[in-house]
Amino acid sequence: MTSDAARPTRSAQGSRGRFLALWQAVWLIAVLAIIVAMPWIASAFWLGILRSCAIAVIGALALNILIGYTGQISLGHGGLMALGAFSAAYLTNTFDMPFVGVLIVASALGGIVGLIAGLPGVRLRGLYLAVTTLGVHFAVIAGATLYQSKVAMGTGFRIPSAALGPWQTGDGRVMYYVLMLFAAAVTVFTANLLRSRVGRAWIAVRDRDLAAEAMGVHAARTKVEAFVLTSALTALAGALLAYNQRFVSVEAFSFSLTIQYLAMVIIGGMASIPGSILGAFFITLLPPAIEWLVGVIPTPDTVSTQLFYVQEGLFAVLLLVFLYVEPRGLVGLWPRLRAIPSRLRKRGRLPAPMHP
């Protein structure tokens, strides 16, 4: 996060160093305690939503790797998740493959597709990867539709509950922990990756690809690497989704899903791991929040029966607002809000500029 030097926040300093400040440790323990205790606090309904949040975190972090750190865009996220989910469906229904095996194979498939799709567009700037991934999305979806209609009579595939040692993935609480663990693992993995040589190379390519080349970083190769990793992680998220829903059907993976993940990364804050996590939670919690709001505030009947459109419309407006007003996303919003009192005090002084 190249902004760290410019942002004089304690959290930034905390994530830089190996050791956390005391108050951060307390926060962390409190949050962890809540996360662990959730299955006994929350209702089944909200637990299900939290499970969806965990999957969203994985998907958002995956997309963030690509967009935030290599500056490339993928419009095929939904298709890649479908790939993971349908791989899971195929492997469990045809080969009865165990949980871990399915996840590995699904991720590998995602990586391969990422390689195939990424290679051609890599030498080209800007839109060509976007365009290729859009094609990948539609091709995967169309293929999945074909597969679903020929094999499952169009209804979709059931994913039987898989055994994880003494537990079953079909158990909501078990799955909650599994997903949270995966989300945490991917977070740690991503954070470490970006500190490593590979990650720094990516950031160099994003910011100044000519200079990076001069320093020995092979721009095209790093873009492909990033895209392969993104695709693999996204397919993993898709496979986890399949186990979570216990059902796979192609309508769940429309282009809207791609847009949702793009929104998570943008609204959360690009090139920011906390941003992606925040964005994932925010976007996942938005529809139930709107529904709850509509139930509580008196609204015309049309709003509750046409709730889907209200949710979609608000989502689009929110996306637009963030694109224009706060391109740094929610993580950019927080320091801005915190800076308001001091800005009011020191009139005329502008906040620290953000590295574009």
């Binding site: 799709a117 030498r123 700037r125 976007a130 094609g135 091709a139 169309a142 979609e312 989502f315």
Partner: protein
């Protein structure tokens, strides 16, 4: 023989959509993913005009075209212009979000009910027999309009001073501005003209099948031929549209209609793999690294 006609008809529909799309991309380097939604909007605007005023159908279409041009220009001016120098994905996401908004409003106002444009507009039903083929008035109009639109746009860019200005802005906006050409002043009309293709496509789809809020998906399929032909090339449009249309029609007629859905995307991926800048595009987008 009918197969050829089918290819030409579908190709013409794609041509209307792809021309507008390429125009926007060539002019402002923005992939307008709201194009399908603006096509749906065009169809509904025609419907609204016809239902509200009972005018002659040609007048209704013309009125809708004018409104479409204004909407296109407004879309650029209000929404795209502020983010044009932002990273490349920002304008795309803006158009995506706008598309969602348009779709949502259409669904809320008009509901999911199917509407029939030819019934509302009272389109005359002439047809002539020509070499074993029944040629329908509307079908002939589709082919003619698509070609005319392409010609007007492509030639307009080359011959008129406005076209030259647009090319200048497209090539180097800053330099153009230095020479006194306002990028926004050029691009707003460009987006407006591109919208003509969308409205016309919406008209033909509405008349030949139905108008419903889901036709935006068809509009998005117009993206494929544009990509195959070369996103920034007008010359590649006709071959691109014909190739994609032929693949789709032949797959539906001789293999399976469901596979016909996938075929265009597979063609697109194949072309992008081999020639990422499309059949007739210039390899201008190759990064120098």
């Amino acid at each position: 023989m009918q197969t050829v006609a089918n290819v030409v008809l579908l190709g013409s529909l794609y041509l209307l959509l792809a021309t507008g799309f390429v125009l926007i991309y060539r002019g402002s380097r923005v992939m307008n993913l709201a194009y399908g939604d603006t096509m749906a909007l065009g169809a509904y605007v025609i419907l609204l005009v016809a239902m509200a005023s009972h005018v002659n159908w040609t007048l209704a279409v013309l009125l809708a075209l004018v409104i479409g041009v204004l909407i296109g220009a407004a879309m650029y001016w209000l929404f795209v212009r502020p983010v044009q120098d932002h990273p490349v994905y920002v304008p795309i996401l803006v158009t995506i979000a706008l598309g969602i908004l348009i779709r949502t409003c259409i669904s809320l106002v008009f509901t999911s009910q199917n509407r029939y444009l030819d019934e509302v507009l009272q389109i005359p039903k002439y047809s002539v027999s020509l070499a074993h083929l029944q040629i329908n008035f509307i079908d002939a109009a589709l082919v003619g309009t698509a070609l005319a639109y392409l010609l007007v746009v492509a030639l307009g860019l080359r011959r008129t001073s406005f076209g030259i200005r647009m090319e200048a802005v497209a090539e180097n906006a800053d330099l153009a501005a230095l020479r006194g050409i306002s990028p926004a002043g050029v691009l707003a009309p460009v987006w407006g003209i591109a919208m003509i293709g969308a409205v016309l496509a919406g008209f033909f789809i509405g008349v030949r099948t139905t108008v419903s809020p889901d036709i935006w998906l068809i509009g998005l399929k117009g993206l494929t031929p544009a990509l195959v032909g070369g996103l920034s090339s007008f010359r590649g449009l006709v071959p691109g549209c014909l190739l994609v249309a032929a693949t789709e029609v032949l797959t539906i007629q001789y293999i399976d209609p469901v596979l016909g859905e996938v075929a265009p995307f597979l063609v697109m991926l194949a072309v992008l793999w081999v020639r990422p800048w499309g059949l007739a595009g210039k390899p201008e987008q190759i990064a120098r690294v």
